[in-house]
């Protein structure tokens, strides 16, 4: 090769600013931080639960404060974003073929949303 092709460098830690779709992707990925943190919170809560009522109460007290509320709020947004972004792509990852046709993606997504609503409602009613 006598030519000298020009290679455009890609900034390793800021590439996602280039396109809105990359930003959406990063937002989706970052949800994992909040889901992880929230789950760790559950792990701790469970441990406190196992240690008895007092320990559990102090866990709840620690949760109750502006910081706890703030964390929960952010985690809620992240969790919902995760759910929607997850459901929206299920038809791509798991297409369902019936005879010659594929079940329309909208239907699969819709079914997921419906199940999500039902599960959430049941848990909510149980919880309250």
């Amino acid at each position: 090769m006598s030519s000298k092709p020009y290679i455009r460098e890609i900034p390793k830690s800021s590439w996602f600013f280039r396109q809105p779709r990359y930003m959406r992707y990063m937002a989706r990925e970052v949800t994992s931080f909040f889901i992880g943190a929230f789950t760790l919170l559950l792990v701790v809560g469970l441990k406190r639960l196992a240690q008895g009522p007092d320990a559990f109460q102090s866990f709840l007290d620690a949760l109750r404060g502006p910081l706890g509320v703030l964390f929960c709020l952010v985690a809620l947004v992240a969790a919902i974003y995760h759910s929607t972004s997850w459901f929206n792509v299920t038809p791509q990852a798991m297409p369902i073929q019936r005879g010659e046709e594929f079940v329309p993606g909208k239907l699969i997504v819709g079914a997921h949303y419906a199940i999500w609503a039902v599960v959430s409602l049941i848990v909510l009613i149980m919880g309250i």
Binding site: K12, S13, S14, F16, M26, E29, V30, T31, S32, F33, I35, G36, F38, T39, L40, L41, L42, V43, L46, K47, L49, A50, P53, F56, Q57, L60, L63, R64, G65, G68, V69, C72, L73, A75, L76, A79, I80, H82, S83, W86, F87, H112, I115, W116, V119, S120, V123, L124, G127, I128
Partner: protein, 114 residues
């Protein structure tokens, strides 16, 4: 070419992704209520303890927590890479250890609840 070992975790990641998608938002919502003292009856020691003492309850709690942990750990591993942190092996080790510790802790916590 060497086969990747990512599928081990990826299976957990994918299962966890689905579980968290269905359940985490409402769990966070409940926790938010608790944090806001919105529904005091909800996070009572008794009701939760009763749920966790039951075998089915244990199974559900274990499933939800561990799958969520592995989902998050695996995705965060990739997120770190996407943010330009190239020490993938170190990141992965740390995150998977955290997930493993969480799994173990959950296991023993549940065992000790009767």
């Amino acid at each position: 070419m060497a086969k990747s070992n990512k599928p081990i975790v990826w299976g957990l990641f994918a299962a966890g992704g689905t579980v968290t998608a269905f359940i985490t938002p409402v769990l966070v919502l409940l926790t938010l209520f608790a944090a806001m003292r919105f529904a005091p009856s909800l996070f009572t020691y008794e009701s939760i303890h009763a749920f966790a003492a039951n075998w089915l309850g244990k199974l559900i709690i274990f499933g939800v927590i561990t799958l969520s942990l592995w989902h998050a750990a695996h995705r965060f591993r990739i997120t770190a890479f996407d943010f330009g942190i190239r020490a993938d092996l170190v990141v992965a080790t740390i995150l998977y250890i955290i997930a493993a510790l969480g799994t173990i802790s959950t296991f023993f916590s549940l065992l000790s609840i009767h």
